[in-house]
Amino acid sequence: MTTQTMTMAKALNEGLRAAMEKNKKVLIMGEDVGKLGGVFRITDGLQKDFGEDRVIDAPLAESAIVGTAVGLAIRGYRTVCEIQFDGFVYPAFDQIVSQVAKLRKRSDGVYTMGLVIRIPFQGGIGAIEHHSESPEAYFAHTAGLRVVSCSTPNDAYWMIQQSIEHDDPIIFCEPKSRYWEKGEVNLDEPPNGLFDAVVRREGTDVTVVGYGSTVKTALRAADTAAQEGLSIEVIDARSLAPFDLETMAASLTKTGRLVVVQEAPHTASVGSELVASLSERCFYSLRAPGIRVSGYHVPYPPTRIEEDYRPSVDRVLDAVDRVMGFDS
C-alpha cells in the first residue's frame, strides 16, 4: 500500500491531476484556476502541466462557468468547475437548477451531464462576507443533482476522482477550514464508494452525524464525552444527496439517539432532512428526538464572531446531554 501524508488541498490537487492524466476529456474551468492555481491553490501547477486548453482561466461570470460546462458536457467533455467561494455560486444557480439538473431528463437520457461543481464551503477562516456560507441544501433539494462533501485528505483525493468519473452532475463541497490539515492518503485504492457514509468512531450511546468541517468537531466532542463516560459514534455523512441511510440507521438502531451537526442554519437544511428520514426509518429505536446543531438563523456573521455561530464542541456536547436526558 502506497500512502502519503498531505493536506486536503494537496490531496484535491493530486486527485485532479490523476483524473486529468487518466482521461483527456477532463477539463478544469474557473476563476484564477490557471496561472494562480486558484485562490486556495487547489489547482496549483495543473495549467502548467496540462495546458491552457484543459485548465481554463475563465472570465469572471459564474453562470457562464457552469453554462459553458453544460455545452462541453454535451460535446463529451467532463469539466470540473471551480466556484471560488460558496457565496458566489448563486449567479450560477439558474444554470445548475434549470439545466445541469434537468438536461438528462429533458433529452430522454441522451445527454450525460458529466460535470463536477467544486464549492469551497462552510466558514472558519476569518473571511469577509459571502466567503463562509453553507449552500448545500439548495442543491440537495434539487432532483437531478448529487451532493457530496469530503472531510479528510484521503476522501478528498478519492471522492474528487469518483465524482469526475460519475455520470450524474455532482456538487462537490469542500470544507475550506480543513484545507490545510494533514492526513494520510492511500494512493492505491479508494476507501469507500462515493455515496457511502462512514463510521469515523464507534460508540454506543449517541450517534453524531457531521459532514465537511463538522466531522472533526464531532470527533472532538466524542473525545471529551468519553472522558465523562459517554460513548459517541461519529458518522461522516459524505453524501448529502442521496443519503446513505442504511449506515446511519444501523448506528441509530444501536444508540437510539441522534445529533446532526452542520454549519448551515437548520430550517429546511440537510440536517433537517436527515432527522426526518431517520425518524421515519428508525422510529421504534429512537429514545429521543433527533437534534440538529446548526448555524443560527441569521446571515453569516462578521467573522470576528463566527466561532459563536459555528457549531462548537460545547454546543455538540450540549445536544448530546439533551438527547441523553430524555430517558433518564
Partner: protein, 355 residues
C-alpha cells in the same frame, strides 16, 4: 423599416435589390425549396394552433411571420453544425430533420424535450430565456478542442437579449474566439414588452462592444438571411470567431396561445408587417423571374396539407405516458429516492387519482 444598414436582397414586393457585401447565390430550384419549407412550416404552425384551441395541446408558440428568418438560417447550416434553440425554433427543427410530431411532444405535455438532440444535431428546447446561449458557447469550445471544422448556432429573441446569460455568452465567445453564430430573431415583442424597453440601440450594435461583428438582416427576406448566416457560419468554422446576426422580423401571431396581443399592440402595426410577409415576396420572385406555374404552388400547398393532417393524427395518437416513466433518466445511475418513489407509486397503484 428601410434601414441602410439592413441587409436585404429581396424587397417586400419580391424585387431583387443589390447589396455591397452580399449577393444571392441560390438557384431557382433552391429558392423554390426555401419557399416550400416556409409554406410547410406555416401550415404546420397553423395546425398546431388549431390543435391547441381544440384542447389537444397544452400550449403552442407560433412562429408565423418568422419563417424566413428560421428557414434562411436553418438551410445555411451544414449537417455537421450543432444548434441550440428556444421553444419557438420550429423552422430550424424542420431544417435539422426533426419530425414535426416530435416538435409537439413538449406542447402536448408528454415530454420535456421531444427528440434525440445528438441524432439531429439540434439540442432540446430551452424555455428559461438565454440559458442555451452559454451551452452553445461551451459546445463551441469543445469543437475548438477537438480541432473540428464545425460551427455552432444558437437562437434567442429580442426579449432574451436582456438576459445575463446571453451577454455572458458574448463575453466568452469573444474571449475564446468560439466558432459560434448568435442568431437573434428580433420579432419586436417579448410578450408585451416592446423592443424599446430592451435596448436603446439596435441589437446588432451590441456585438461591436463585445468585440465581434454584428449584422442586421431583413428577417423576412429568406435570401438575405441565408447568405448572411452562411457567411457567418463559414467564418466560424475556419477560426473567424463569433458573429451576432439580428434578424429583424415580426411575430405576426401571439407570443403563445395563452397570450392576447390585442392588449398591448395596435392592429395597424400588424397590418404593416403583413405587407412584409416573408412568403409572398418569394412567391412573387418565383413567378416573375423563374416562371414557376400555379400548379407547382398548388402542389406545395397540398403537400403541406398532407403533412398537417399527419401531424394531427400523430398528435392525437400521443397518449398519456405511463406515470412510471417520470423516474426514467432523472439520474444516470441507480438512486435510492428513485427506487423509493417508483416503489411507492406502484404499490399505491399507477394510474393517478383525483385531486
Amino acid at each position: 423599416m428601410i434601414d441602410e444598414e439592413l441587409v436585404q436582397l429581396l424587397t417586400p414586393e419580391g424585387e431583387r435589390v443589390s447589396h455591397p457585401e452580399y449577393e444571392s447565390t441560390l438557384s431557382g430550384e433552391e429558392i423554390l425549396g426555401l419557399y416550400r419549407d416556409m409554406v410547410i412550416i406555416r401550415r404546420l404552425c397553423n395546425e398546431s394552433t388549431s390543435l391547441q384551441r381544440q384542447g389537444q395541446l397544452a400550449l403552442w408558440a407560433p412562429v408565423q411571420g418568422q419563417e424566413a428568418a428560421q428557414i434562411g438560417a436553418g438551410r445555411a447550416l451544414a449537417p455537421t453544425d450543432f444548434t441550440f434553440p428556444t421553444y419557438r425554433e420550429h423552422g430550424i427543427a424542420w431544417c435539422r430533420g426533426v419530425p414535426p410530431e416530435d416538435m409537439l411532444r413538449l406542447f402536448r405535455a408528454v415530454s420535456n424535450g421531444g427528440w434525440d438532440p445528438q441524432k439531429y444535431r439540434h439540442s432540446v428546447p430551452t424555455i428559461v430565456l438565454g440559458n442555451q446561449a452559454l451551452h452553445a458557447v461551451g459546445y463551441a469550445m469543445g469543437v475548438q478542442r477537438d480541432g473540428a471544422e464545425e460551427a455552432v448556432m444558437t437562437f434567442f429573441g429580442d426579449g432574451a437579449s436582456s438576459q445575463g446569460d446571453v451577454l455572458e455568452s458574448f463575453v466568452w465567445a469573444a474571449s475564446f474566439n468560439a466558432p459560434i453564430v448568435f442568431f437573434c430573431q428580433n420579432n419586436q415583442w417579448g410578450i408585451s414588452t416592446p423592443m424599446s424597453t430592451q435596448s436603446k440601440i439596435p441589437l446588432y450594435h451590441r456585438a461591436h462592444g463585445f468585440g465581434f461583428p454584428g449584422v442586421r438582416v431583413d428577417g423576412n427576406d429568406v435570401l438575405a438571411v441565408y447568405e448572411v448566416t452562411k457567411r457567418a457560419l463559414e467564418s466560424a468554422r475556419v477560426g473567424g470567431g463569433p458573429t451576432l446576426i439580428e434578424a429583424y422580423t415580426y411575430r405576426l401571431g401571439a407570443h403563445t396561445t395563452s397570450d392576447d396581443p390585442t392588449r398591448y399592440r395596435i392592429d395597424a402595426e400588424v397590418e404593416v408587417w403583413k405587407h412584409r410577409d416573408p412568403i409572398e415576396r418569394v412567391k412573387s420572385l418565383l413567378v416573375r423571374e423563374f416562371k414557376i406555374k400555379a400548379g407547382v404552388f398548388d402542389d406545395i400547398v397540398a403537400e403541406a396539407d398532407v403533412l398537417a393532417l399527419k401531424l394531427r393524427d400523430d398528435v392525437l395518437a400521443m397518449d398519456r405516458p405511463d406515470p412510471r416513466t417520470m423516474f426514467d433518466n432523472a439520474y444516470a445511475t441507480p438512486h435510492p429516492l428513485i427506487d423509493e418513489g417508483l416503489r411507492d407509486m406502484v404499490e399505491l397503484g399507477v394510474g393517478g387519482g383525483a385531486h
